[in-house]
């Protein structure tokens, strides 16, 4: 069934778009990432102009993240204080990122720097998460088999310098929901870096926020998805307004199609997340991140079938 998009000025296959929304919604609900990495390229593949794909995708993020946020909230799976501080950092990062981007543009060859950085970044994070989650899974399985308390694992062998530094940071704050007492600079810093990524690399921060919250802030795994999505929801609303006002690239009909699929997908995702163990969820997420990273790396190293592409008309 074809539906005409008034802003994109073209007709699209409605069920395909809704299905795409649903798949992204499930992933977003389970892992707490936005899923823009899937939506945008698929929309462009379907022939929708890139600017409209990016602009409209923000409205879908609002819908899928808010659905998940409400569900996670009911289960008390959100640390609002943490999300708020990360959000402040995110805003600082986004705004300063715009200037950094301008600066990079001034020096030229921004594309090269950004693509290479992004590939290194995704593959690095994905690889680290993959090895960590595999080790955890093997360890728990071994522990279950031997059924003895292995002191080697529980006795933390390394209270490293990094741990020292982390503990000695000023502005300590307690996060009752996460049962953490850490410096406010940590979530703020994570937010700033996330915001920088968004404006410099132009791709969502979920990829960064989720691993950073797990390993860096040590937020309990159950709270990670909800807390990251709460932040994504607010950032997306901000982005949606910006795209609508400055570029007029938000297509209401396209948004409705995506949203209709993604709100249902997100509900399914949140329910699924209750059944997936923390380490398995991390394993799956690391595989997704690695796949995207390798796909981008492939684009850089493998000679493309078609050298030409149309930028604008």
């Amino acid at each position: 069934m074809l539906v005409y998009l008034p802003i994109a000025e073209m007709a699209v296959n409605a069920p395909h778009i809704a299905l795409l929304g649903a798949v992204v919604g499930v992933i977003s609900g389970v892992f707490g990432i936005g899923g823009g990495f899937l939506t945008t390229p698929f929309l462009i593949f379907m022939g929708i102009p890139p600017a409209i794909a990016v602009g409209t995708q923000s409205s879908q993020l609002i819908a899928s993240s808010s659905t998940s946020v409400i569900s996670h909230w009911k289960k008390r799976n959100i640390d609002f204080k943490m999300a708020g501080i990360m959000l402040v950092g995110g805003l600082i990062g986004t705004i300063s990122g715009i200037f950094i981007f301008k600066l990079l543009q001034y020096f030229g060859k921004v594309d090269v720097i950004i693509s290479v950085l992004y590939v290194i970044f995704l593959c690095g994070i994905g690889g680290m998460m993959l090895s960590e989650s595999i080790t955890t899974i093997i360890q728990t399985r071994r522990r279950n088999l031997s059924d003895t308390n292995n002191d080697e694992n529980t006795a933390q062998p390394q209270i490293s310098k990094w741990e020292e530094w982390r503990r000695n940071l000023p502005y300590k704050m307690s996060f009752p929901t996460s049962k953490l007492h850490i410096s406010a600079l940590l979530p703020l810093g994570v937010g700033v870096i996330g915001g920088l990524m968004v404006s410099v690399m132009g791709i969502g921060a979920g990829f960064l926020l989720v691993p950073a919250m797990i390993y860096f802030l040590r937020v309990p795994p159950l709270l990670v998805a909800g807390t990251s999505l709460a932040q994504i929801m607010v950032t997306s609303a901000f982005a949606c307004i910006l795209h609508a006002v400055t570029n007029q690239t938000v297509d209401l009909i396209l948004a409705l199609l995506l949203i209709s699929g993604s709100v249902i997908g997100a509900q399914i995702g949140v329910r699924l997340s209750q059944f997936i163990k923390g380490s398995s969820a991390r394993l799956l997420l690391s595989l997704i991140i690695l796949m995207v990273g390798l796909k981008l790396a492939g684009g850089l190293f493998i000679p493309p079938d078609n050298l030409y592409s149309i930028i604008s008309d």
């Binding site: 005409y4 008034p6 850089l300």
Partner: protein, 246 residues
């Protein structure tokens, strides 16, 4: 009236006595193509009369725009967009229907002069600094891409004569057809010579809900953005209510 009768007879006689007095007229089934949210492409039917009977070429041209194309190249072993070109005033839609293949109708010079044929289009880059060989490669890609999207096409034998003077053809408009002002040019050739030419304006525009949304997004963009957010939030609430497990 009596005085005029001989004059009328004389004029009619003149017309029939001199068949070289060529005449070509066309009309389309719909005066304008109106796009609603249900639009999924359309086919227009075009009728025309030609006297004397000759080779007909119907050219439908869409709105003009600049088009930028980039090309990837290998830099330090990485495939990165390294080159780009902007063509000025390219047609957003270009469709030729003819009674026989246009190459056999007339000479190349006449085709180029009338913008007929995909290889005879005047597609030039904005900047004149590009070498000719490069311009040709980019141009070739541009035309191929437009053909792939169904926006540029060339159909010989698409114009059929119903009798000695009346002909008809169908023009397909794909779902991604650009909006704006179109021109339908009709050419009548006899023995390779262009003997008559006519133009018919034509517009493609959105109406109804699609047009309202477009207008709202352009003129009240902040409110529009807020509405999109409200709709997004509302639909997630509805989804939760509907899918609630009690």
């Amino acid at each position: 009236m009596k005085h005029f009768l001989p004059l009328i007879v004389f004029i009619i006689g003149l017309c029939t006595a001199y068949p070289s007095q060529a005449e070509l007229t066309i009309d389309v089934s719909e005066p304008n193509l109106q796009i609603t949210t249900g639009f999924s492409g359309d086919t227009l039917t075009l009728f025309g009369t030609a006297s004397p009977k000759g080779d007909i070429v119907i050219l439908v041209k869409g709105p003009k725009n600049n088009t930028s194309i980039k090309r990837k190249g290998q830099i330090m072993g990485l495939w990165i967009s390294s080159d780009s070109m902007t063509f000025k005033n390219t047609y957003g839609y270009y469709n030729i229907a003819s009674s026989t293949p246009i190459g056999t109708i007339t000479d190349k010079q006449t085709l180029i002069h009338n913008n007929l044929g995909l290889n005879n289009l005047n597609i030039q880059p904005v900047s004149s600094k590009h070498p000719l060989e490069k311009v040709n490669r980019f141009r070739e890609y541009f035309i191929q891409n437009m053909q792939l999207k169904g926006l540029y096409s060339l159909t010989p034998d698409a114009v059929t004569y119903l009798n000695d003077t009346l002909f008809k053809t169908r023009i397909h408009m794909p779902p991604n057809v650009p909006l704006g002002q179109y021109h339908i040019d009709a050419f009548l050739f006899k023995d390779g010579v262009l003997i008559d030419k006519t133009t018919h304006p034509f517009t493609i525009k959105q109406i109804g809900l699609a047009a309202d949304i477009h207008y709202f997004s352009r003129n009240y963009s902040l409110l529009y953005g807020l509405c999109v957010i409200a709709i997004a939030l509302l639909s997630s609430f509805i989804a939760i209510l509907l899918l609630r497990r009690d």
